[in-house]
């Protein structure tokens, strides 16, 4: 700092000090914009379709939506099958597609575990544990998601490949989209994405 106290410098210093004081005062003013919570987004790519993986998809999805996030779940590949109506046992047009649905039963009530499936014992045991500890079932969580406004986006390519039609799918899904749509969402500001 200059130690001279000559008039011109003193004046210049005072003006600078005044400007600084003003700037500090202005910054201390409550900023209206600062009180508005920023719009966050969660994008989940639901690929695996496993029971133990669709659960976190639906839990993260419902909580994100409950917390005001714009929430989208992209249903692709195996992850699309749980969102076929439970009542549809065989889907598809050609033999291969029908075989596929025969071997990987569609519907949210028929998902398999990624570990310890034990030919179906796994999901049953998780169901029992859930009842005991009041953990919501996949069906309840799906309902919660839909209530909270989570957007479910089916993958057009998967629908084509597996021979799935709109009528095969549960109600409330969005229009089918592709990778470009999802990529755009994933790279927006304030967005978190998950591959499940």
């Amino acid at each position: 700092m200059a130690t001279e106290t000559q008039a011109p410098e003193a004046e210049a210093a005072t003006t600078a000090e005044e400007q600084l004081t003003e700037a500090i005062a202005a910054a201390a003013q409550p900023d209206d914009e600062a009180n508005v919570p920023v719009q966050r987004q969660l994008v989940i790519i639901n690929w695996s379709g496993d029971f133990d993986k669709v659960l976190p998809t639906l839990i993260m999805g419902s909580v994100a939506a409950a917390s005001g996030y714009k929430t989208s779940v992209f249903l692709t590949f195996w992850g699309l099958l749980p969102f076929v109506k439970d009542s549809k046992r065989i889907t598809g047009d050609n033999t291969m597609q029908k075989m596929l649905s025969f071997m990987q039963r569609p519907g949210i009530s028929h998902m398999k575990m990624s570990k310890m499936n034990f030919m179906g014992m796994g999901p049953w045991m998780i169901g029992k544990l859930s009842e005991q500890y009041n953990v919501a079932s996949p069906q309840e969580l799906l309902e919660a998601c839909q209530l909270m406004g989570v957007e479910f986006l089916p993958c057009q390519m998967t629908m084509d490949m597996f021979g799935l039609k709109r009528e095969d799918m549960i109600d409330g899904l969005g229009d089918p989209v592709g990778a470009a749509t999802v990529l755009e969402l994933m790279t927006e500001d304030h967005t978190g994405s998950l591959f499940i």
Partner: protein, 76 residues
């Protein structure tokens, strides 16, 4: 001191239901009113703090009595 407008009984429910049920209830509550949430899930303590930060609602009061957590939330 305005009375509690709505009580959400989330006792016995696990993640994510306390948050989801509260978010549903909040939709029906006018701004400035109070919501009381009762939960037994210990994880819900941090969850509600995060949720109120994300949604702009505020926790006015928080207490625990014999395993039951009580949150008093003001709808912004």
């Amino acid at each position: 001191m305005s009375d509690v407008h709505t009580t959400v009984d989330a006792k016995g429910l696990s993640c994510p239901m306390p948050i989801v049920k509260t978010a549903q209830a909040v939709k029906t509550v006018p701004a400035g009113e109070l919501i009381e949430v009762l939960a037994t899930d210990p994880g819900s303590v941090k969850d509600f703090a995060a949720w109120t930060r994300s949604t702009g609602n505020a926790i006015v009061e928080q207490s625990e009595d014999d395993g039951v957590y009580r949150f008093l939330i003001k709808r912004s």
